[in-house]
């Protein structure tokens, strides 16, 4: 692998890594929202006496 190929690969890998990191962050956020929603549903059931 030439030096140019190494740098080009690095640039594309940086982009891919950033994209994957973003997906992980979004997944964590969705998980947190889901947890919060479950919590709120339980709270609503308690309030309504269900």
């Amino acid at each position: 692998m030439t030096t140019a190929e190494k740098y080009v690969t690095a640039a594309y890998l940086v982009f891919l890594a950033a994209l994957l990191l973003y997906v992980v962050i979004i997944a964590l956020k969705v998980g947190r929202l889901e947890h919060e929603l479950t919590d709120l549903a339980r709270l609503a059931r308690e309030k309504l006496g269900g």
Binding site: Y7, V8, A10, A11, V14, V30, L33, E36, L40
Partner: protein, 249 residues
């Protein structure tokens, strides 16, 4: 409680199911754009790496162009979108646009950071160093990036509400003035190091390269669009849940 009474982040009081904050439509739009982005980016990168001819001067290292330039243009587009939403907020006083402008700045900063990183890698191989303070194009892009990075500090230094929305909107709108300066800097300056591919006479590259570039740019814009919609849906859901928690407390 009606939807309109919960509208800190801009849901209008129009009739509709309670707590439908555009999350579902955002998710659908994000999915469609994400599929388009995946197809276009994979196709575009394949065209760039395996089909487009190598640059006579730079050789294989020029392949970073197909990543770096679309990412940079997407950052500019995100900032411009943020400014448009900020303008809409200031002209209509509809606070829905605040969250949209904020999300667009968020996207712009992410793509801006990627522009700086991929640009530095390209600079290292082409010029022999990671950064050049003598290049106005680079310095101006860094200024744009830092300006929008400071947006978050401004935003979170004030309490949520109309004042914060207005301040953020004015800031986002003001920042868009830096974009043409940054974009045109390399042309005005007539710099030696940073290449100028797109001039007022058109694209200064073979059609195969231009086609691969266009596909990559379309993919990058679709990717930014899908991330924007997903992020916006998440932020809206966050606000909706916070409102719901307050209601139930």
């Amino acid at each position: 409680m009606s939807t309109s009474s919960l509208s800190e982040d801009g849901r209008t009081g129009k009739a509709g199911p309670a707590f439908d904050f555009g999350v579902a439509s955002g998710r659908r739009g994000a999915s469609t754009l994400a599929l388009a982005a995946a197809g276009l980016l994979v196709g575009g990168i394949a065209l760039a790496l395996y089909w487009a001819p190598e640059d006579a001067d730079q050789g294989f290292s020029q392949k970073i162009f197909y990543l770096h330039v679309p990412v940079a243009l997407t950052a500019y587009a995100s900032f411009a979108w943020a400014a448009w939403k900020a303008f809409r907020l200031l002209s209509t006083r509809d606070s829905r646009y605040d969250l949209e402008s904020y999300t667009a700045v968020h996207m712009g900063v992410i793509f801006g950071l990627l522009t700086l990183v991929t640009g530095s890698i390209w600079a290292k191989i082409s010029w022999g160093h990671w950064w050049s303070w003598g290049e106005r194009q680079l310095v101006l892009f860094l200024i744009v990036f830092l300006f929008y990075s400071a947006y978050f500090m401004l935003r979170y230094s004030t309490e949520p509400g109309p004042r914060r929305e207005r301040n953020s909107a004015v800031y986002a709108l003001f920042g868009v003035a830096l974009i043409p300066v940054s974009f045109l800097a390399v042309r005005i300056a007539g710099t030696i190091l940073h290449p100028t591919v797109f001039t007022h006479e058109g694209a200064n590259l073979p059609w195969e390269m231009f086609l691969a570039f266009c596909v990559c740019l379309a993919g990058m814009l679709s990717l930014a669009g899908s991330l924007y919609l997903a992020e916006l849906a998440g932020k809206r859901a966050d606000v909706a849940l916070r409102d719901l928690r307050e209601l139930l407390a």
